[in-house]
Amino acid sequence: MDIYLLEAIINGVLLGGVLALLALGLNLIFGVIDVVWIAYADLVMCGMYVVYLLCAELGWPLPLACAVAIAVVAVLGVLVHLLIIAPILGSAPINQLLATGGLLFFLQSFATLLFGTEFRNLGLRLPIIELGDIYVSSSRLLAFAAALIGAIALYLFLRRTFIGTAIRAIAQDRDIIGLMGVDQRRIYIVTSAIGGALAGLAACLLALQYDVHPFIGNTFGPLIFMICVLGGLGDMIGGFIAAFIISQIISIGGYYSSTELSYVLAFTLFIVLMFVRPRGILVR
């Protein structure tokens, strides 16, 4: 087998991990609260700036900076819910889209105001790992491992705890969840915090590989939405699988042609699949 193709496939899998993590977060929030956070990728951008500030500017050790970034974005997630979503929870879905869409512009502009538009990076390079003739960046490998651990942790939380069970239940019957002794508002806050924490974790992993700038959310935001829709909005397993499909198309397509064309290919496949499986790849 072509060694570069193999490398492209491996890179596709590694990229898929982070995208899957973000798709999980977005699907969790959609499934539980029934809103789409248009500005989700921009929360990731905020997290990347936190890592950058603490790590590159203040010289904190990377793990500590990452832990703080995850916490900060989790709090940000709760604030998004309490300040933007909660007041308009009962109104038409379009209002919620517009409100979180407004947040997108707010966050991008605010970041521009604070940091300017220049690209910034952590200034640290993790080594490249050689496996025979294959080169794999260890930051990507680390990102994939951390994304997988994050996804497994979320799975166990949803399966094994009372709050996790309530989170799974609430999407199936919102009206009677109170009869179980569950305070719906509290579950929404916990869900928003988890969604934020996942975005924060993704931010740490992306900060290792990419420069941060105020508009970095635009580069992968649409991709995450496409993945979620492809997997079926709210379907966490479908989204997880779709993340790896899309990342493979981008990675292998990039190998045979160019990165730009591979995005064209991915979005074309998306449109085709929307005709074949409009409610998500796992739903017939």
Binding site: F162, T165, A166, R168, A169, Q172, D173, D175, I176, G178, L179, M180, G181, V182, D183, Q184
Partner: protein, 235 residues
């Protein structure tokens, strides 16, 4: 008095569903609410369990005022509600449905012990513990819904139309279950269209018509009542 409602009214928007309903239940009693479709029976249950806020009147539970508490607070007080049509979480397993019934902090520490008790009461649920609740038969779903409500260790169990949509044989099972639950010392308030059978398991009953209580009495009284005999027992 365990539960007492004094002149409770409830509205859906501008539509009044309950008019000055007063009702009392003592500890250990089984009380029925009967009446035709649309009489407000379900609304009454939803008001007691906090799903619908009363627009006037007072409610007390074990002497504490509970009017206007939200549903999850009512569960903490010791009121569990088996809703109309069971309303299980269809894609969760039977065991997850039971687990969520024990959500309140008070019930969590003894969850495993309570689960064993419920499985003792409903061996069928234990057999099907890993199955999605939506795949159960109607009777099994009713058992699961009752089991789920019992998981919170309630003092008062509200049951809304437990026999609805079930085959006659299963209906008989459900009512014999109500007897067993009562034998464990639980207080039960049960809403039913199946008047004949509900009067066999309750001590007293109220007749609700167009949102107001028209009649109240012991089961024996009501079985002998001319109106009940004609309109509800078909005699």
């Amino acid at each position: 008095m365990m539960l007492s409602l004094a002149a409770v009214s409830a509205d859906y928007g501008s539509f009044r569903a309950l008019f000055d309903v007063s009702l009392e239940i003592s500890s250990g009693e089984a009380v029925g609410v009967i009446g035709p479709n649309g009489a407000g029976k379900t609304t009454l249950m939803r008001v007691i369990s906090g799903l619908v806020p009363p627009s006037s009147g007072t409610m007390t539970f074990e002497g504490r005022p509970i009017s206007g508490l939200s549903a999850h607070r009512m569960v903490e007080q010791g009121i569990a509600h088996v809703p109309e049509n069971r309303r299980l979480f269809p894609r969760l397993t039977v065991e997850d449905n039971l687990r969520i019934g024990a959500f309140i902090p008070k019930a969590r520490p003894r969850y495993a012990e309570r689960l064993d008790q419920i499985y003792g009461l409903f061996p069928r649920l234990k057999e099907r513990r890993e199955q999605p609740a939506g795949t159960l038969s109607g009777g099994e779903q009713q058992m699961c819904a009752i089991g789920r409500a019992l998981m919170s260790r309630p003092k008062l169990l509200l049951m809304d139309e437990p026999s609805a949509g079930l085959a006659p044989l299963v209906v008989a099972q459900v009512f014999s279950l109500v007897r067993r639950i009562r034998a464990e010392g639980l207080t039960v308030l049960i809403v039913e269209q199946n008047v004949q059978q509900v009067l066999e398991v309750v001590n007293r009953a109220y007749l609700l018509q167009v949102g107001a209580i028209k009649l109240a009495g012991t089961s024996a009284d009501l079985k002998g009542n001319e109106l009940i005999r004609k309109a509800y027992l078909g005699l």
